[in-house]
């Protein structure tokens, strides 16, 4: 067994006052609600507002996902909903694309048109809960357009809608690809961000550290990457779009992954709050205190959910949820016992949501803000992970920032190396995982066969066929007009905001494949990233 953190810091058997020499309460911790916000943003903690307890949805057709969302509401998911795209709509191709036919509705929601969003949201309110939709950067501009269009149709003022549907372009290099070039993703992200700021829309953009960590990154690396992603997107919003820093900070929220190494996870998030607050003030010269308070949502780690003895995952999920709750986050969507098999079954979803409810109302951990503060061990770990992350951050800065560091291959190599280390540690049993490399049982001794949700090929095909048939029934005149405008706008350079044209096209029921395809053409790329289908429109 190794007594080290995942970033290699040697853990001592006991911690005491000597380990916190030099720690100054006001400077380094501060009361909750006071800079540098190590202890959180609200003096009252969860007493004012409990964290949003939500569960990721998305499998099968939009109508299937709608039923699941309604079921989740019955299970007490009322503060906010969270849906993830399938791989087809994440890739900005349509369900009837030849490459899509067997993958529609697999691992997510087939959200490539406003029609799909309308079906997803049928009888579900757009207000009174946060609307979160995840799944890559390029389709995110469409997601924002869906929300704007549906609010419009329902006669709801957009100022009453809140949540997060857009996403930073850094999902691509960290394992959630949308097949689009990075510069196009960055442009679309900046357009959407500028649009929400200028129109006073309370929709945030996910800056997703989770992808990096779930691909194998360690806690210190994840912290450094999270901060450097935020630094990059805020700098661009200020320098390239002329927003003030305080305006720019209305855009991002950070989605962090929390695993089972309880104290290390708590330390990581506390360090993130402190490091961001300092970066906001010292690097960006934040004028508003709000800009120093990074909104943090937690995803408990899907990677730690084992295939073997899946019921063990209930225990893992509970430990991770407890860490997420104790560290004081805004929202948690937790992994499920069947995470290694499929999207959550109703049983697994209820278990996970109930895990959150149990932590929230039965344990008492939500009664007190930052209950682990002052622990010699937790404060030491917070300092250690911060120091290790600053070292990586300096290295990234020296390479010219995160985009440059990715281009040199440094970040990819770091991630790959770390994934190999984790695999080796498991192989050598330096890290033990019950049921996987420790206390393994033969498959026939599995006492309980979990129900596994899946979508049949016929289901994927049906989504494809519906898309193809529906396309023929659309009123084509407004679609043609809107994509021509979009094409013309997309030729006006990166600084010209495409959101109004995208919203018009979405409202006319143009699809993801069509909208992103036309933007691609305007930028000199081919319409279809797979070079299989042709643009169906005359654009000049």
């Amino acid at each position: 067994m190794k007594y080290t953190t995942d970033y290699g810091y040697e853990i001592k058997p006991v911690y005491g006052p000597g380990d916190l020499k030099g720690l100054e309460y006001e400077r380094d911790l501060g009361d909750p609600g006071r800079f540098p916000y190590t202890r959180g943003y609200h003096a009252n903690g969860y007493r004012g507002r409990m964290w949003t307890r939500r569960m990721t949805a998305g499998l099968g057709s939009s109508r299937d996902a709608n039923k699941v969302l309604k079921k989740y509401r019955e299970m007490g998911q009322t503060g906010g909903m969270c849906v993830i795209h399938d791989r087809v709509s994440s890739s900005c191709i349509d369900a009837d694309h030849p490459r899509a036919r067997h993958e529609n509705g697999v691992l997510g929601w087939p959200g490539s048109s406003l029609l799909e969003f309308e079906e997803l949201m049928e009888d579900i309110p757009l207000t009174g809960q946060s609307i979160t939709v995840l799944g890559c950067c390029a389709p995110a501009s469409l997601r924002l357009a869906y929300v704007v269009a549906l609010a419009d149709k329902r006669g709801i003022d957009m100022s009453e809608v809140h949540g997060s549907v857009t996403e930073s372009p850094f999902s691509n290099p960290f394992g959630q690809t949308d097949l689009q070039p990075f510069d196009l993703d960055m442009k679309l992200f900046l357009d959407a961000s500028e649009y929400v700021v200028q129109n006073n829309i309370r929709m945030r953009a996910g800056v997703v550290g989770q992808h990096f960590q779930e691909s194998g990154g360690n806690n210190a690396q994840a912290l450094a990457i999270e901060l450097s992603m935020l630094k990059e997107v805020c700098s661009r919003l200020v320098n390239e779009r002329g927003l003030t820093f305080d305006e720019a900070m209305r855009v991002p929220y950070q989605l962090v992954s929390i695993g089972s190494r309880f104290f290390e996870e708590v330390a990581k998030v506390r360090a993130l709050r402190r490091m961001w607050a300092r970066m906001a003030k010292e690097h960006f010269g934040a004028k508003s205190e709000k800009s120093c308070q990074l909104l943090i949502a937690v995803h408990t780690s899907g990677r730690t959910m084992t295939y073997q003895q899946p019921l063990n995952n209930i225990a893992r999920c509970a430990i991770q949820t407890l860490a997420g709750a104790m560290v004081g986050c805004t929202a948690i969507d937790n992994a499920t016992l069947d995470n290694a098999y499929a999207e959550p079954s109703p049983l697994a979803a209820r278990m996970s949501l109930n895990t959150q409810h149990i932590v929230a109302v039965e344990t008492g951990v939500a009664d007190v803000v930052d209950p682990l503060a002052g622990s010699y061990f937790v404060e030491s770990l917070t300092n250690e992970v911060e120091a290790a992350a600053y070292r990586i951050l300096e290295e990234i800065d020296a390479l010219g920032g995160l985009v440059a560091a990715i281009e040199t291959g440094r970040i990819g190599a770091m991630l790959k190396n770390e994934a190999n280390i984790k695999f080796r540690e498991l192989n050598l049993k330096e890290r033990l995982v019950v049921g996987v490399n420790h206390l393994v049982i033969p498959p026939e001794e599995e006492m309980f066969e979990i129900p596994v949700q899946s979508i049949e090929v016929s289901g994927s095909e049906a989504i494809a066929t519906r898309m193809a048939e529906w396309k023929k029934t659309r009123d084509m005149a407004p679609i043609r007009a809107s994509v021509r405008r979009l094409y013309a706008d997309a030729k006006k350079g990166d600084r010209f905001n495409l959101m109004p044209a995208i919203i018009e096209a979405v409202k006319a029921y143009a699809t993801a494949g069509e909208i992103i395809g036309v933007i691609r053409l305007a930028r000199g790329l081919i319409y279809d990233p797979f070079a299989v289908i042709q643009c169906p429109f005359e654009l000049n």
Binding site: H102, E103, G216, Q308, A340, A342, A419, N420, L426
Partner: protein, 121 residues
């Protein structure tokens, strides 16, 4: 990687493991179709086709098996790894997949198995 799945960590870790063990590995990356994989296996004169799968895309593996048969690649084994539910495991083995490595498979087991699969030349 078959289909649109982009969970590459497992495939890349196994590719590194095999290279370190002295195998020649041609990692095709993401967004591969069954015909693309079979063509690559033909071009590279591969002994084994390895597919990494993350709880999805099983129908594409089934298509791959048909493609392998149609192209007459009878002496090439198809090996899969990843989060594959037990029901699918049975189905894929019945279709001729030679071996499935589930999550948590020790590196040595993968290396030893593949060492035994090399075609005698």
């Amino acid at each position: 990687m078959i289909g649109l799945d982009s969970h590459t960590t497992g495939a890349e870790v196994v590719a590194t493991l095999l290279r370190d063990a002295g195998f020649e590995v041609v990692y095709l990356g993401t967004n591969q179709t069954p015909p693309m994989i079979v063509n690559a296996a033909l071009e590279e004169d591969a002994d084994v086709i390895g597919i990494s799968s993350h709880a999805s895309n099983f129908t594409l593996i089934e298509e791959l098996m048909r493609e392998v048969k149609e192209q007459g690649l009878t002496d090439v084994s198809v090996v899969c790894g990843g989060n594959i539910p037990p029901k699918q495991v049975q189905k894929l083995l019945a279709l001729g997949v030679a071996k499935i490595f589930l999550p948590g498979s020790p590196g040595d087991a993968i290396v030893e198995y593949l060492a035994g699969r090399e075609r005698r030349r």
